[in-house]
Point group: C2
Chain length 506, copies 2
Amino acid sequence: MARDSSRRRRTVGTLSQLPWRQHRNPYGPIEVLNAEQLEKIHDASLRILEEIGMEFLDAEALALWRDAGARVEAGSQRVRFDRALILELVAKTPPSVTLHARNPAHNLTFGGDHVAFGSVASAPNVSDLDRGRRPGNFEDYCNLLRLTQSLDIVQFLAGYPVEPADLPPTTRHLDAHYAAITLTDRIWHPYSLGRHRIADAVEMMCIARGIDKARLKAEPSLFSIVNSNSPLRLDGPMLQGLMEMARAGQPVVLTPFTLSGAMCPATIAGALAQQNAEALAGIALIQLVAPGCPAMYGGFTSNVDMKSGAPAFGTPEYVRAAMAGGQLARRYNLPYRSSNACAANAVDAQAAYESEMSIWGAVMGGANMVMHGAGWMEGGLVASFEKLIVDAEMLQMMAEFLQPIVVDEDTLGLSAIAEVGPGGHFFGAAHTLARYETAFYAPILSDWRNFENWRLAGAKDTAQRANEIWKQLLAEYQKPPLDPAIDEALEAYVARRKEEGGVPAA
Amino acid sequence: MARDSSRRRRTVGTLSQLPWRQHRNPYGPIEVLNAEQLEKIHDASLRILEEIGMEFLDAEALALWRDAGARVEAGSQRVRFDRALILELVAKTPPSVTLHARNPAHNLTFGGDHVAFGSVASAPNVSDLDRGRRPGNFEDYCNLLRLTQSLDIVQFLAGYPVEPADLPPTTRHLDAHYAAITLTDRIWHPYSLGRHRIADAVEMMCIARGIDKARLKAEPSLFSIVNSNSPLRLDGPMLQGLMEMARAGQPVVLTPFTLSGAMCPATIAGALAQQNAEALAGIALIQLVAPGCPAMYGGFTSNVDMKSGAPAFGTPEYVRAAMAGGQLARRYNLPYRSSNACAANAVDAQAAYESEMSIWGAVMGGANMVMHGAGWMEGGLVASFEKLIVDAEMLQMMAEFLQPIVVDEDTLGLSAIAEVGPGGHFFGAAHTLARYETAFYAPILSDWRNFENWRLAGAKDTAQRANEIWKQLLAEYQKPPLDPAIDEALEAYVARRKEEGGVPAA
């Protein structure tokens, strides 16, 4: 007698939510390219790398390529590659990587049919219904970390949820990392902006887990996104960060920033060919630095509004590109990253339908890592407290959709159907009562009351209800336990590095 | 050099929208049941029909079943069936049906990989931002027909978009049918509430198309939804309508009203088994009346909120049931109907995310007919003018998602990538300029302006923008052409039938 144990709810404070679990996609991805189309894009991307090449704005990276036999153009930073070299290097990447959180219950595997959802990341602004839209700051940064920790469906920190721009740039990452480690017990993401920030993240994560760098290499904890400066360029700070991550054995997600019509051709096929070229070249460099280092393939192709140049997300082009990106990643046995993106300016219907399109594109595109899972608005310019709650509900619904239907004598319920008979009802049936608590998904945000009851309760729309929920979660937030000795060591590290002046100013 | 001709836009009044087309799903459906699970549900549903049986509240239907060899319980309306009888009858149903609109450009095929989107149907109330929520009436009924006619993505009338409750019940259908025929040139839907309304619809559609009943049988125009009174019952008026439709060769969509936890077991498997039993028994009766008559399999399984009993839609259970329903329909080679359903009370984020879940469940569940495609709210209690526009945008996005990616030398754009080179941009490239007008999906509702421009333009949310769009569409509405002689004949038919008193009062 199978019973769906996954449906047991976890109650944090007064919010009943789905329990933490590693989600899997049992249905297999949607394939929007046929085999021939996939090979054409594969071939075109290798022709791009052979014939057009790519710029690496870093002397060390150029030297590595030269030594590996790539053709570095004299007096330039342009590199051209034989396809065999690229494919041989990419093939060294493991098909899957498990990242180790400081709380092992929050480890996550990226690869195969696994899918994990992350927070909003890297927004310069922050917004909520009470205080409106404002520049990023450390207080909001910390509150967004607390909300991530409170919501089991937001499984990892995808970056700084908002830029804490009120902190000095040279030491900002130290405070940001310390907060990520202490306010959450989840996987987090340091920025690949030069080697020093990565080096500090590695040191701090070793302290947090009480391990050395060899063990951190064997059991990676950190990941970092590297966006190529499309078209066909990787800049110096990104490359330095990428190489530092590779040396530490921590995975980089190589995500070309290919907005179709602006940074790549105004066709999905052209955008994908260029995305694939940039992703493969970056991943190949990781393998050149550290053969066998985990890495991931990131897809972020969307399109601009051709009239205004404004970026658009969750569009029909975006969804198909997200799914095709998954096919490309799987062609090379690479874990795949996609996003929950939208362009909307308000937490309204557009925000929801654009995000739903992105979430379906990601999950049914076979993404293992869904960046910007909760809170992303305005094409990434704002982290919204209310959107974070709306997204959490949408992600929970998707996670439940991924639970296979249980079909057995008990769930088929023929005895209940016989007992109730034609024209009866099932409210009071024993079969129903036995499932009263766990039969169906219970929402955190959706309001299913009838119109009259909803009106009497204040006719609150979804954004207003989300506003109440995030405040409740913050009021009930509890810091995850941390050994005081580790906390002290982390504080001491931050203090010492601040005294040293942090990282060199850009 | 392939160019995507489907992207050419149609401009109606001042609104630029996707052109009319018969949509197809090139990607194949998502299968949430494995083969063994599908067979278990199939078998359970036949056991229900064999062992528990179903009630048919109509003497004529009972006589038909008795003559066919089914076991009619003495002194009762309960019928039990051998599985061979049911399967043999169901197998007579054609796998696909083309419905003929009075404008042949708006014919639609239901079956195979075709998918068509219909209007909201059967709401008792109507709502818009200006006038709020009010009971259904003929003026709003007509305006919702005009909007359907104005939006090419809303391809057929799924029923009365709202009940014109201010018209007398015995003649209401005559005015409703006349408006459907004259204000639109689309396929429409008479209600199976007794035989007389169907008979009037058949007569009026023959007049509208200038054909006789034999030709209408060969080229059907009408469809009707029959919801079984779950559990396991079909009422008299529905059965009379169903049989009249079958005799006229017009398809009925047999859609069990299986709300899990109320009208069927509180498990997806049990709900599907019961849905399948009811759908197969109803379709079998159609074939008993008129072997080879087109018919469709409808899936409407959702769940109630176990705490309040309130129906929920677009839930994770709903989506999986919609997709599993498609698998069941395809098992019997039947066209499949699903819906765009939501429970939300406002045109907000919840309305959009519940509807997106339903739309993905329908389209990727392999539905051929999507009922309630545009305007459905509150679990069907309201037709909303603003939601209709939000849905039209979501359906257009889904339709564009279904356009296969074109991969050829031209779209791969390697010459453009070479021309632009590393670090450049594609705005001015010839490859981009050649696609300026048609490269990407252009929304009717989504606002992609940046926050500052959006704020300066009044910070209108999606519902407010939708409000402006439907008013604009109504102001620009043009009645589709109709031969004045046909119009006169229709008017005369309505006048005569009104003089006769319409249909017998219930």
